[in-house]
Amino acid sequence: MNGNFESNQKVYSQYQLAEMFTINPATAAKGLNILADEGILYKKRGLGMFVAEDAKENIANKRKSGTLKQLVQELVLESERLQITEQELMDMIKAALYKEGRK
C-alpha cells in the first residue's frame, strides 16, 4: 500500500522473513502462502514469490469490504451507547475529514 514493493517485484523469501522477525520459517511460508492464495503474490517456480499486477486494488477492495465496514459498524455501535444523534455523528465524521485536508 505504501509502495514498499512494486508490482512484479520479488518479495522476501520465507527464510529472509524468518530471520527478520525471528520466526519459524514454516510460519513465514504459511504467511506467504496466504497472500498467494488471495492473489496478492504469485509464485514463480524456483525463483520465489512476486507481487501480483493488481495487488494494490486487491488489498484496497478487501479492506473496504472488510476492515472499513467493520470499523463503521463499531463506530455506529459506540455512538449508540453514548447516545449521540445521527447529526452529531455526521458532523464528527465531516470534521475529521476536513482536518485531514481532503475536502
Binding site: Y15, E19, P25, A26, T27
Partner: protein, 300 residues
C-alpha cells in the same frame, strides 16, 4: 519423514504413572515445543527420547532405533538442561574441545564465536558458573553440536531477558542454515512461540494436543461482555475458561467453531471477541478447573 515415533509409551516411577500410553510422531527438521504443567512428564519424555531413561512399556524409536543404552542415539542427539554434567577437572575451553571429538557435526568456529560473544573465560570451570551462566554455556554446546535430534529441556532457566532473546535468535539462525529436529520444553510459551512450528501439549500423562502453533493460536476465542449476551453463545459448547469481571460482565473462552456470520451477530449483540494467546490457552487447556486460582477463593 518421521524421526521420533512413540507407540503407547508409558513410564512409571514406582507405582506412579507419569506417562500413560502416549503415541505421537515427530517429523524431521521441525521445531516442536513440549508444553505442560509442572510434573506432567515433559522431562521424563525428553529423557527417554535421549536414551537417558528407560521406558516402562510401549515402544519408542528415535532415528529408527531404540534410544536406551544406544551409542547411535547418543552421537546423534543432545539433551540440554541446566544439570548437564561435565567433568569438573576440565576448563570451559577444554570442554568445547572434548565436545568436538564426540559430536561429528560440531562447529568449533561457531562455538568459539558464541563463547566469546557471551564473554566466557576459557580458563573457568563449569561448576563455578552461576545458574544463568551454566544455562548459557550448556545452550552453546547444544547449538554448536548440530545434532540431528536436539533437545532443550527448559534451556532458559536463570538466563536474563537479553540472553534469552539472543539464545532463541541464535538457535533460529543456525536452524535456518542447518535444519535439524529440535524439541524445546519451557514454561514460557510466549517467549518461544514464534520459533515453533508444532506444539505438543501434555496433560495427565497423555498427549492432549499435537498441532501446528498457527492452529493453536486460532484454536479458541474469548468472548467478553454482559453475561446475558455472552452466555447464549456458550450453550452446548465446552467452556475452557470462565471469569466474572465486575458485577455482570463475563469473559469466557470457547473453541473457535463459530462461523463468520455468528461472530458478526455476536459483535452486534455487544460481545467483544478477542483472540486467545497461545500461552493463555495452554494454561486453560491444562488446568483442572474452569476458573483457575479464583476457584479457590469462591464461597469464602
Amino acid at each position: 519423514m518421521s524421526v521420533i515415533e512413540c507407540r503407547e509409551l508409558s513410564k512409571a516411577y514406582l507405582r506412579k504413572k507419569v506417562l500413560n500410553q502416549i503415541s505421537f510422531t515427530i517429523e524431521e527438521n521441525k521445531i516442536t515445543g513440549v508444553i505442560g504443567r509442572n510434573g506432567v512428564g515433559k522431562t521424563t519424555l525428553l529423557k527417554i527420547m535421549a536414551g537417558f531413561t528407560k521406558e516402562t512399556s510401549g515402544e519408542i524409536r528415535v532415528l529408527e532405533q531404540r534410544p536406551f543404552n544406544n551409542l547411535y542415539t547418543s552421537v546423534n542427539s543432545i539433551f540440554v538442561d541446566d544439570q548437564m554434567s561435565f567433568p569438573p577437572a576440565l576448563q570451559l575451553q577444554e570442554l568445547l574441545e572434548a565436545a568436538q571429538t564426540f559430536y561429528p557435526n560440531w562447529d568449533m568456529d561457531f562455538a568459539q564465536r558464541l563463547f566469546k560473544y557471551f564473554n566466557f573465560d576459557p580458563k573457568h570451570y563449569h561448576n563455578t558458573l552461576s545458574k544463568g551462566r551454566t544455562s548459557t554455556f550448556n545452550a552453546i554446546v547444544g547449538i554448536a553440536a548440530r545434532c540431528p535430534i536436539t533437545i532443550f529441556d527448559e534451556p532458559t532457566t536463570g538466563m536474563d531477558e537479553a540472553v534469552r532473546k539472543d539464545f532463541y535468535r541464535a538457535l533460529l539462525k543456525d536452524y535456518i542454515d542447518h535444519p535439524r529436529t529440535i524439541l524445546i520444553s519451557s514454561h514460557h510459551l510466549e517467549e518461544m512461540e514464534d520459533l515453533l512450528e508444532d506444539v505438543l501439549l501434555l496433560k495427565n500423562g497423555k498427549v492432549h494436543l499435537h498441532i501446528p502453533i498457527s492452529d493453536l493460536k486460532e484454536w479458541a476465542i474469548g468472548l467478553q461482555g454482559q453475561a446475558s449476551s455472552v452466555l447464549p453463545w456458550t450453550e452446548g459448547k465446552e467452556v475452557l475458561y470462565q471469569n466474572q469481571i465486575g458485577l455482570n460482565a463475563t469473559y469466557v473462552v470457547i473453541k473457535n467453531d463459530l462461523s463468520e456470520a455468528e461472530l458478526a451477530q455476536a459483535r452486534l449483540n455487544g460481545v467483544k471477541i478477542t483472540p486467545v494467546h497461545a500461552s493463555d490457552l495452554c494454561i486453560y487447556l491444562t488446568s483442572d478447573t474452569k476458573g483457575g486460582i479464583d476457584d479457590v477463593f469462591i464461597n469464602r
